[in-house]
């Protein structure tokens, strides 16, 4: 906001808005990201994450509010913003006919990187993502994971101060996702860089220093993953019964607990979940087929702020994404 703090803030957003015709995709968001932070935007598809990121990257003009990225105004100093940011988009933006090396070289030339530094920098970023040996190969022959890694390398080619990653691991297998996360961790160590990413994978959001949860164009919560989970406080209990609706009613009557029909059962939050289970069986007055108790995940955080799971919010997300979400849930249950 002020000139004093803007030097330590990588991103500074005030009441940013974007409307497309009648639809208000981003409805006034405000937040800031400290230099060196890994900041995550979490939310279902269509929550306005990508629109926000596009505005911060100067790819879309806001219809209201202001934002500074690397100390420069995204509308008035578009080129200055562009000089200081790296971008990895959701959709591939590589030239498949060119080799990895040619793609990076083109990028360096477009960004005006000093000629003498192009080769050493290229080697460094390619080695980081493990593609140095493949540098002479046309990108068309790369797998999806290799392409994403190359995009990350390219985004880093000009030593940006802020790296924007829009769903960097979407559609990748778990192994590749893990390796991409290790690059990001490595980046944090080796480069003076701020990472701004969007995701709707709950488990990935936990790698962030801070997370903003977005729903329907607004930020509904913003804090560290631990603090967000602490805000939910209680354990998450999910029960399956023959009649979930009446089970929910019984919960309200017997224990004064509010519950949600989600995740194929009745989900509610309660202090000391394990100790609660015996009481549940004794007092619910209804047969229970299964019970699971888990520590709250970020999905629960999302649910506690929005009243729905990310999966519900997306309605019809991709099948693989849903499967992934199940794994997350399964992981949380153990």
């Amino acid at each position: 906001m002020t000139t004093v703090t803007s030097s330590t803030r990588a991103v500074d957003v005030r009441d940013l808005r974007k409307s497309f015709d009648e639809v208000e995709a981003v409805r006034g968001v405000s937040f800031d990201v400290a230099a060196g932070e890994v900041f995550g935007f979490l939310g279902p598809n269509g929550a306005g994450k990508t629109t926000t990121i596009n505005m911060l990257c100067t790819l879309a003009k806001p219809t209201g509010g202001t934002a500074l990225v690397a100390g420069h105004d995204i509308v008035r100093a578009r080129d200055d913003v562009r000089r200081h940011i790296g971008l990895v988009f959701q959709d591939p933006t590589l030239d498949g006919y060119m080799t990895a090396e040619q793609n990076l070289r083109l990028h360096a030339e477009l960004y005006g990187v000093e000629s003498a530094l192009v080769a050493p920098r290229m080697r460094q970023v390619l080695e980081m993502v493990g593609l140095w040996e493949r540098r002479k190969v046309p990108v068309n022959t790369f797998s999806g994971g290799m392409r994403r890694r190359l995009e990350i390398a390219r985004g880093l080619m000009h030593s940006p101060r802020v790296l924007f990653l829009d769903e960097p691991t979407i559609g990748l297998d778990p192994q590749t996702r893990a390796s991409i996360w290790s690059y990001i961790a490595q980046l944090k160590e080796s480069e003076e860089i701020t990472i701004f990413m969007t995701t709707h994978y709950m488990d990935e959001a936990e790698f962030c220093d801070r997370i903003a949860i977005m729903d329907s164009g607004k930020i509904v919560a913003l804090d560290t993953p631990a603090a967000l989970k602490a805000a939910v406080g209680a354990d998450r209990v999910r029960i399956q019964t023959d009649d979930d609706a009446s089970a929910a009613a019984a919960l309200r009557e017997a224990f004064a607990l509010e519950s949600q029909l989600a995740d194929g059962g009745v989900v509610f939050f309660v202090e000391s979940g394990e100790e609660f289970v015996p009481r549940l069986f004794a007092e619910l007055g209804q047969p229970i087929r299964s019970v699971s108790v888990s520590r709250p995940t970020l999905d629960d955080v999302f649910m506690s702020f929005t009243g729905k799971t990310i999966r519900d919010a997306e309605e019809s997300g991709g099948r693989s994404r849903n499967r992934r979400m199940m794994q997350v849930m399964a992981g949380g249950r153990r």
Binding site: A60, R83, H107, Q124, H158
Partner: protein, 290 residues
């Protein structure tokens, strides 16, 4: 940010300098260079875009020769249509070059260029020059065929042809990029280009002398910008031929407007001006997109 504290061999930190005229030139050069890289790696395209001109030149040219001998004054019909074919090959290649901007958008690469800290005009100019270069390189293959249609290999003529091809390729690419700014789908882009370019090509007098045409065709011919590219090309080629004066009058009458024979240099200048105008429009259109 603190100064680079990394030890040698550790992190190489680079800096992106503010935009300058030189950095824009560098951007133009790299966008241009990419077109060449892609052209080199796409041998199939070089071959396929040769098929059509070669069919016209050798199959149509040889076939119609049976009918035409009497009226061409002993000049091989292939020789006559050769300048038109020189223009044709360049036009179609340039069209494909411009189409690459549509592919770039479809495959996302456009975005990589659009978010770079350079002017949109640099990208459009680089694209246009790249397309022109690639098309002219393709044209060289056809120049090499001059001997096969009884045209002598005169160094000055070859240079002249190359220059005219470059000019035409530039203008056609500029036209294509201008269209591509508005039309974002490959299929509609190709349809529009075919719809515009094919009639232009037929009207330009690539296959017939432009004097003594029916009135309606004369009007359309003179309105067709491509006429002013084909005509200087034909004059250039015919200047090297040893043919009778009557044959020259019939086959290479030149374009005249209201009885005034337009000089070849002016025709070339007109093609260039048109290309520059379309390039300017393309730049404006690309700069105004988000």
């Amino acid at each position: 940010m603190s100064a680079a504290t990394a030890a040698p061999g550790e992190v190489v930190r680079v800096r992106v300098p503010p935009r300058t005229f030189r950095s824009e030139l560098r951007a133009i050069k790299v966008v241009w260079g990419r077109e060449l890289i892609r052209f080199r790696s796409d041998r199939m395209r070089i071959l396929t875009s040769l098929i059509q001109p070669l069919l016209f030149l050798f199959v149509l040219g040889s076939g119609l020769q049976q009918l035409a001998t009497a009226s061409t004054g002993g000049v091989d019909l292939k020789t006559f249509i050769y300048p038109g074919i020189l223009c044709m090959s360049v036009m179609f290649t340039a069209m494909f070059s411009a189409a690459s901007i549509v592919w770039d958008r479809e495959f996302g690469f456009m975005r990589e260029m659009m978010v770079a800290p350079v002017r949109r005009s640099s990208i459009v100019i680089g694209k246009c020059l790249g397309g022109a270069t690639v098309a002219s390189l393709q044209g060289v293959i056809l120049i090499a065929l001059a001997g096969a249609v009884h045209v002598p290999y005169d160094p000055l003529m070859i240079l002249g042809i190359f220059g005219l091809q470059l000019l035409l390729a530039f203008s056609v690419t500029a036209f294509g990029i201008m269209v591509a700014a508005r039309i974002t789908q490959m299929q509609s882009f190709m349809a529009v280009m075919q719809m515009v370019v094919t009639p232009m090509y037929f009207l330009a007098g690539a296959f017939f002398p432009v004097a003594a045409l029916p009135a309606w065709l004369t009007v359309l011919n003179r309105l067709d910008p491509l006429t002013y590219a084909v005509d200087p090309m034909r004059r250039l080629v015919f200047s090297q031929l040893d043919i009778s004066a009557s044959a020259r009058r019939v086959l290479d009458p030149g374009v005249s407007l209201w009885g005034w024979r337009v000089p070849a240099g002016l025709e070339a200048l007109f093609v260039l001006a048109l290309g520059l105008a379309m390039l300017a429009i393309a730049i404006v259109e690309f700069s105004s997109t988000e």
